[in-house]
Symmetry: D2
Subunit: 343 residues, 4 copies
């Protein structure tokens, strides 16, 4: 055998493969066969959460720069890594199939031995939520939340919340989009009051609404006109205008990566939420209406978190404000050139 790196040492398999200690194997207890599966699937989830945090960490570094150059690889890298995170979550969702091979009766063989531990205590998952943008005050049942964790773990989560999360960095990046403010792109516009583009757009949008949908017009004005970020909202109207513009003119080279970025964020929300959803089903099938090992009301807690913990929902809402491509306002030639490649 040649010198150099050896597979099992490189992967530190002595640690990885010797970290399974079944509670049901302790003295005076009866070995519960399926506890091994329970441990290994959770360890596997935690390994992947580590990878996700690693990817998201570098995404935060890049998006946290005061300026992201269009011609740098930055956005390319951000998209590539968010895409990877989405592929990972897609796999995590499928993996629930494995846990579903454990029947409720088999789980009962060791369930009580785990109290009060519960998946709820996954710090890495909570860190991820925090890095993306969930704040303690918006967490479902935050008091229950704090009571279930070691103080140092609560501290770790709080410390992450002191940094700007991804949603804020994306909001700022969108706000920096230069096209609307630069009058040279909008011949004939005097730079005052409502931007010419949005005036036309609002008109077209209004025309496109069915009678039952007229409330959408007010919602549009509220969400997209103005400048200040309203309390409880993640995106400012200015950022929303940029995002909407990106969604509408995504065919132009300069807007393709920004469009991918917005899609990747919405897909991440959808993946996390599908993961929660399948988790709820699995828990329901496993313990019915019993309390979870952590003392929660099981399914009810999880459903609450599912509904409340969306982070990028405001992007999805922008879909309500699209108009048909054929009615889009024409852009000036100067702007069109600016959205393309160097000639």
């Amino acid at each position: 055998m040649k010198d150099g790196v050896y597979y099992s040492e490189y992967l530190q398999l002595d640690k990885i493969l010797n970290a399974q200690q079944l509670e049901s194997d302790r003295t005076d207890r009866a070995h519960a066969h399926d506890e091994m599966l329970f441990i290994i699937i959770h360890q596997s989830y935690e390994l992947w959460f580590k990878q996700v945090l690693y990817e998201v960490g570098t995404v935060l570094d890049i998006m946290g720069q005061p300026d992201i150059k269009d011609s740098s690889p930055d956005l390319f890298v951000v998209n590539h890594r968010l895409k990877r995170v989405n592929v990972i979550f897609h796999t995590l969702i499928g993996k629930i199939d494995i846990l579903e091979t454990m029947t409720p009766l088999d789980f009962l063989d060791f369930r009580n031995m785990l109290r009060p531990a519960s998946g709820f205590q996954s710090i890495q998952f909570k860190l991820l939520e925090g890095l993306l943008g969930l704040r303690m005050e918006n967490r479902h049942m935050q008091e229950y939340y704090i009571s279930q964790l070691k103080p140092e773990d609560v501290e770790t989560i709080r410390s992450v919340e002191k940094k700007k999360p991804l949603i804020d960095l994306v909001n700022e990046w969108l706000e920096r989009m230069p096209f609307f403010d630069d009058k040279s792109f909008w011949p004939g516009w005097d730079g005052n009051s409502l931007h010419e583009f949005w005036k036309k757009y609002l008109e077209q949008y209004n025309n496109s609404l069915q009678p039952a949908e007229k409330a959408n017009y007010n919602r549009f004005e509220e969400m997209v006109v103005g400048n200040e970020k309203k309390p409880g909202q993640s995106l400012s109207p200015k950022a929303r205008r940029a995002a909407l513009f990106i969604m509408l003119y995504r065919d132009y080279p300069l807007l393709q990566l920004p469009f991918n970025l917005i899609n990747n964020l919405m897909e991440l929300d959808e993946n996390i939420s599908t993961w929660r959803y399948r988790h709820i089903h699995m828990v329901h099938r496993m313990i019915g209406s019993r309390t979870g090992t952590g003392g929660s009301t099981g399914k009810d807690y999880l459903t609450g978190a599912l509904n409340k913990h969306y982070i990028f929902a405001e992007f999805a809402e922008l879909t309500s404000f699209l108009i048909e491509r054929r009615n889009l306002p024409q852009l000036s030639d100067k702007l069109k050139t600016r959205l393309g490649f160097e000639q």
Copy 2:
């Protein structure tokens, strides 16, 4: 080329491949590229719904027999076909990935041309719900429902509801389980009042509850003791006792197929519900808070149906009433023999 069957004729591909007429290709309209995808994915769904109805139809025929012989292949066939239906639904869920390659803006190119058609009008899907056990009076927003369909289609659905649905046939089949009533299996039991088995079981169950779970005991008594099916419920207490017994002693040969059957039904509910869930997400991402082409409030209608249209949820609830295997009441030797193979 040899005489005989020819692939394209056998599959009637002249019909299948000439059934795509884009609304956006009609005179005075602009061809919308993605409308083809929209048509084909829905046609593909309908093909699979036909297959599902075909399988479920034979399952109903078998389960509708006055008696199902243990040694006949009947239950084997029922499980095999329900398994197939589950595999089909699993694939249908994954297929939503394809539709998600259509962006909201691309959908807008032809969306208004489809009004008031909507996936809501899939008669086959509604027939499936009816055959499994959903009744008109339990359908979410039934008036809206009726207003969206041609009278003859409403009639078709109602006519299916006149037949006993799968949930009722399963309830009756469970009620016929002979073991509790036959005193020879329960030496020492006088045949009166609460069955010895359940008396012991209730006691064990009560001991197993955490302080916060004591309400479960009353729920157990309400659901599992007694004989009459209560209004609004799908399963009678008698059937529930049989189902619980099957879940507890599924290791015995005679109970393996019944256990599979119950699992397949719960999995079907979970699959249909996951399908609805991903559908909601997709609709939300596609139209936001706009009304659907059928005039519904889109996401809200779908969420209502998701929560209300579970059919086999009462089986999942039984999980709440399991006790640990080591505390299970011992069965008599005579009963154990009866649950095994011919020697």
Copy 3:
């Protein structure tokens, strides 16, 4: 019910859902339950092949233009549609799970009634192979091939082969890449003999090879140096140089979509091949070493096609010629600017 489009009419469900005629239901035969599944899964495949041909057809139109403007949405659209084709194939692969719920014994109930029809006769699939780049003379067992199809179907396939397939269009598009020929991007290069860039690159590549890999150097020279497309090859050395450059400098904005395009083509090859592979397994499990209904040797024919019908394999081979990023030749500032966005 409102006037307008109705779901079942829009989708022409009368055609779609009345196109299943079981051979086993003909007079004097015994109904074979699983034949319905067999018909429906093949119809579903054919629906999706129609969609794939529709997408690939527009990709050919775009790539067949004499020039593709960088700032047009063309490459964006091509990638979007190839991505969709890949998602479709991914789903088709998963769908084999459904057919695997049919056991060999159940298949035997109607297998002989189908002779000599076989999936081999799927014209749409053969058209797809032809549009991508497979020529009749490279088809595995072409004589057998022709003997199994109606003459008019052979004619249809041959007529498609008269058009330039995707692989040729991509080759030409790559050959048009302007950067190497323009001396202003390569200060100091006299424009003669081997390009400065590739001279440096070959040296680095040579240094990177392990002793056992030295044959790769000659292979590199053979594949990447020179200009003429060699007989039996799909890509010219010139196109390969462009593709390799794209793979190496994919971080630059201008090269991102081209990089995606190459990846999408490789992924398509991999998907089609995985589809063939799972198909082989399924056939093997279904009929073992018996001949297929079309008279082929079943598994052996399919394995031959699997190995011979790769279309974009020459892109995958380029991977062998990559060098480490840190050793990449530096590009001139002028070229870097040209690979970026308009400032």
Copy 4:
């Protein structure tokens, strides 16, 4: 926070999450972002291999008993666990999607630092192959094999090979099937020469063959008639007869679990082989025709192993010998009763 088990301690996350040491982070090297992914995906695979070995270990214990009682839960448990192993492999296959988000160029950033380590050195995977039935002498390129592993690891694998592998235990279990030898089930049979059942069966089989398939008859005689296991084969003719009988009469209650067992083994082979197949593709895309980090010829080695390492292929071959259900020999009433439940 309540006393008791705490999630992160229970899962020993201090070990699991601190076992990632990047080679590219060592002094004088440049951090390669994707090396973390590379480590974590391999650690995750190893975690799951541990679980698979754990399940297969108990399957071996059960199947290794001198006798498996029909009415015990043994076969039920064996099937349940093999099913789980199959679900795990299905997930492992899907997980390759994650690794495919790493591009060849990103891999090059750290690839050379790993030499000569390679996935080839996964001892757990080789143990699994050994436990299922692969012997050293049948391993593809066994000398290369031995040269790549530490002597103690070669020893570990060899020691596993000293135990009876699953394929042998299944063979013995099939040979014990009692029905053919018991003359009371076959009225009129004198117990000599070729069994009445197989005489009839061979005749029917012969009639069912197409002219081009006549060689199958001899193959059938060779594989299924006789008693001795031939050198190089995994199953004896006696065991094959039992397996074929199970496949043909799987509808009878007693044969359902045995039928499932055979199917689960074939599915395991298919899953492992699909896993290898996707692995080959991924390696090919990653390194083309370069040598692997372990010095192997990469794709070629893997393809060799793919073709040679099937373990349960002889079951799949039995499919070639099935006949149509309607032509099956009738069983005696006594035997039919014996294949059913206690009445």
